[in-house]
């Protein structure tokens, strides 16, 4: 009798905690409803769509040149990579030849953009784990990259620089010189982050063996990019299906071992080094010549459909474009890397702690502008 009474009184319920869309560490307007038992997460229900702008539908009503501006705003941390993949889709359909110099500048800027994006990741990941200083250091370095972009493209984030057939205009005269000094500074800054965070015991305790994603699970979910490579799957579009001129550079793909948060973090850090190496090689090889194949402003690609893949900082971006021969595409569909990576969140979060939820979400490095489109 007594025992039963006690059991009755000790009847516990799970607490539903609504994390987001206005939580400081959901990286945008992502929302997840956590069912927690004390601090342990029992169930997760992710909600997205707070930033849904209908970009794909908008594409159907815009001419090709205007769509580039829409792609800028998908993944707003790697704008140039997005522009490049769309421009490549149109170029592939029209079978345009891109001048050599344009290709090199594209690659340099895209890699620079990748570095900027990864630096931001390192900083915000530090914030998620609770260290406030790395974000400041990383923003300091990212600021230099933004200034570089400002000098080349005229804008700090929404560039609209990569155009169908090439790039908008040639780089300024002191570009190579500035890039070289920038690379030196970036290397220094990266070493600082590496020393400050990577092997800090508290950081290791917070990220090691947390949110482990096996290779099988990653492939099943269609995870791509650094998150996939952290699980030990060496898939990188730049290597497997080299586009643009990526087959001319000597670079490696960082591979993690077990796919936990630390691996995902360190793969990105290592990727910055590889990107810097690509930039150095490209700067060395940079040829002279034209920067754009002149096209009509009102493009009318031939009828057909095309699927183009590219490697974004967050993973594999794909553009599936159907052209009906008019000046506007019939259908544009983007394969958003963050969208696929975020799908795993439910499996990763269950049976971890609330504090880990933030770390795991941070380690996936999502951009909500791309998830919701």
């Amino acid at each position: 009798m007594v025992d039963q009474d006690i059991n009755k009184k000790l009847d516990t319920v799970q607490m539903m905690v609504n994390m987001g869309p206005q939580h400081p560490s959901t990286h945008g307007v992502f929302r997840m409803v956590l069912a927690v038992d004390g601090e342990r997460i029992v169930d997760v229900e992710p909600h997205i769509g707070y930033l849904h702008r209908g970009s794909e539908k908008l594409c159907e009503g815009e001419i090709y040149v205007q769509i580039v501006t829409l792609f800028d705003r998908l993944d707003y941390l790697s704008n140039l990579n997005n522009e490049m993949v769309f421009c490549r889709a149109v170029e592939k359909l029209m079978e345009l030849e891109i001048p050599e110099r344009a290709e090199y500048i594209r690659v340099i800027l895209c890699e620079l953009n990748r570095v900027a994006s990864h630096l931001l990741f390192i900083g915000t990941f530090g914030l998620d784990v609770g260290a406030m200083t790395p974000s400041m250091y990383m923003f300091r370095d990212r600021e230099k990259i933004q200034s570089m972009f400002e000098a080349v493209t005229g804008a700090r984030m929404m560039h609209n620089y990569i155009r169908i057939g090439g790039i908008k205009n040639d780089v300024p005269d002191d570009f190579i010189h500035r890039m070289k000094s920038l690379i030196v500074e970036l290397k220094k800054g990266l070493e600082e982050a590496d020393k400050l965070l990577s092997f800090n015991e508290i950081f290791l305790a917070r990220t090691k063996n947390i949110g482990t994603m096996s290779a099988k699970m990653a492939i099943e979910y269609g995870v791509s990019g650094p998150s996939l490579r952290a699980s030990g799957v060496p898939i990188d579009i730049r290597k497997d299906h080299p586009y643009s001129i990526y087959d001319r550079f000597d670079f490696g793909i960082p591979i993690g071992e077990i796919g936990d948060c630390w691996d995902r973090y360190y793969v990105r850090l290592e990727e910055v080094r590889q990107s810097i190496s690509i930039m150095e090689q490209a700067l060395y090889q940079l040829p002279d010549g034209d920067t754009i194949t002149p096209t009509r402003f009102l493009l009318r690609p031939p009828k057909g459909e095309v699927y183009v893949r590219g490697e974004n900082p967050r993973g594999e971006i794909g553009v599936y474009m159907i052209s009906d021969g008019t000046d506007k595409p019939y259908r544009v569909k983007v394969r958003p890397p963050s969208f696929c990576n975020l799908m795993t969140i439910k499996d990763l979060l269950i049976d971890t702690y609330v504090a880990d939820a933030v770390v795991i979400l941070g380690s996936l490095d999502i951009v909500l502008g791309e998830v919701d489109r």
């Binding site: 849904h52 209908g54 492939i219 799957v233 057909g304 095309v306 699927y307 794909g318 599936y320």
Partner: protein, 170 residues
């Protein structure tokens, strides 16, 4: 109607296949011989058009067959061709590194299709998105609750005949 004709012609095959795709094109008829399929090309990819009822079996077959081994779903996309909705699956093999496009047509009135979430878990949110924006309902999907739109949204904004609400300048 004119637009529809355009669209029909839009998928007229252009052949820019690379070596892997050519090999795949040669290999495919033997593998999917049990099913009613048409093998085609679209620019540089091999396209398999299948019946909507058989989509799940074919996907399972393509995934489990050692020669194809399509274990990775790149993209699930719905294209509205006015007369019919076309569901397009871009699938990829992480081991053999080749890509295939699977297409199937469903009617726009009551589009329903077998879900491929048992084949690739990654189809989950794509299918929910397709359900949101195009109204394609996927049978046996774990939960088709709205993903991008809010609960109780009327209409299918992805379709071409969706009328955009009046937009007012502030």
């Amino acid at each position: 109607m004119a637009e529809k004709d355009k669209a029909e012609e839009a998928i007229e095959p252009i052949n820019r296949l690379d070596a892997k795709s050519i090999a795949l094109q040669a290999m495919l008829p033997g593998i999917v011989s049990d099913f009613k399929v048409t093998i085609n090309t679209a620019f540089d990819l091999v396209v398999v058009a299948v019946e909507p009822e058989e989509i799940k079996q074919i996907c399972l077959l393509l995934r489990d067959n050692d020669e194809t081994a399509f274990d990775y779903l790149l993209l699930l996309c719905v294209v509205d061709y006015e007369d019919y909705l076309q569901v397009v699956y871009h699938i990829y093999s992480t081991s053999l590194k080749h890509t295939l496009v699977v297409k199937t047509n469903v009617s726009p009135e009551e589009p329903s299709l077998e879900s491929v979430t048992p084949v690739w878990k990654g189809a989950d949110w794509y299918e929910r998105e397709a359900h949101d924006l195009f109204g394609v309902s996927f049978n046996a999907h774990p939960s088709l609750s709205p993903l991008l739109l809010y609960e109780g949204f009327e209409g299918f904004p992805g379709r071409r005949n969706y009328e955009m609400p009046e937009y007012k300048e502030w």
